[in-house]
Symmetry: D2
Subunit: 131 residues, 4 copies
């Protein structure tokens, strides 16, 4: 009889793995004596700053232009750098808050699946409170 492994497959193969990066960032901060600045509050502000820079790249683009932005050599590197910065601060923030991002995402995906069942959410961008 075949065992159904779906329920624990997420543990065997996590959706996201960021532990290595968390370690590298912690060491980077430690070496520079920066841990004194890395309170969750400060890191949330740093994250806001990086998302702001990402917004600036896309603010005047049409949606269509935004779809090809990665192929435009003039902004491809800037986009990659800003996405990396957002991830770096997000992982550092989760680390100082002792939050397991993989577990948090699994939990949120379940919530989203129940808030947005396919039958009601299909083809609409409305918020779950309005469908």
């Amino acid at each position: 009889m075949e065992e159904d492994t779906r329920d624990n497959s997420s543990e065997a193969s996590p959706l996201v793995q960021v532990r290595e990066l968390a370690g590298v960032l912690s060491a980077f901060a430690e070496e520079r004596d920066w841990k004194q600045y890395h309170s969750p509050k400060n890191l949330v502000m740093a994250l806001s700053g990086e998302v702001g820079e990402l917004s600036e790249i896309f603010q005047w683009m049409t949606e269509d232009a935004s779809k090809g932005a990665s192929r435009d050599p003039a902004c491809a590197q800037a986009i990659q750098d800003e996405l990396a910065d957002v991830l770096i601060y997000l992982v550092r923030l989760s680390d100082v808050l002792d939050v397991d991002l993989n577990a948090a995402v699994l939990h949120k995906l379940k919530t989203n699946a129940s808030k947005y069942p396919v039958s009601k959410a299909r083809g609409t961008s409305k918020k779950y409170t309005d469908i």
Copy 2:
């Protein structure tokens, strides 16, 4: 003769792995016919919205209080949910932009290491342009 494995070590053990999540999110959007809404421009706005919600959790906390926020049952779940939402939109955005987050982070870490050498950056929160 010892082989230098530094160059390909990052491939063997990536700093971040988000491919599984990217796949789950793509399927989630596909099932709901949401891909029409997921332009990079729109996803950057969604990311801004989630980071705004994270800011709201921390806005009136002192830095010290923010350090213990994860242990406060009243806000622990909210924090995890918002961190998950930020990661979800970041991974979805990177996917539609065809950006490899692991490669982007590796590149950015090199840039940061050269902008902020330990000797100059130690113990200061100044920007690289000012040190």
Copy 3:
């Protein structure tokens, strides 16, 4: 008999007046043929970008340091410039959306006063849903 003028005093002396600035910004955009870029959606992104720059100025400061930030010659001008940028995009956005900011603020202040009565809100930073 003395007339009670409280009800229409807000019309006689508005809380905020931004019409002059709205006119200047509209002309500035017109002269440069920029109105094609000034959709509400784009302007919201531009506003996010400016608030992100403001966050970057304050991200590593302690709350105490932030209180004296305007007196620090190194960042006073940067702060003024970012505050101005936020106001500029906010007024431009309100103008293209045909929103009367003075009326909107009056309405919001009434809502806030009823959500946060002094008796319940005194000395707490909790959200109205929690008091």
Copy 4:
């Protein structure tokens, strides 16, 4: 001989007047003993939160739809409320930082006019560093 009144015309008729609102907000905070929470750092985070809420309203709209958003009864009030919230925190922040928004805006408009001369900026959304 005609007098040149350009220099002081801005004083006679300011581009923006927010002093009344600043006073109302200060009294509102004072009555609730909220001034302890209103450090510039905290208010910048509150501003980020409100701009995040504005982003959420517009995130899935096309640019064209965003142009008519104020006429949609379903979101007109939400838009007005969020614009008001952004202005409220911006004015409160400027007040605690002792920044004169009118002067800051006048200064920034001069900078913008010289960064973006009509001859170079016409019809392009490029940043001043690229034109």
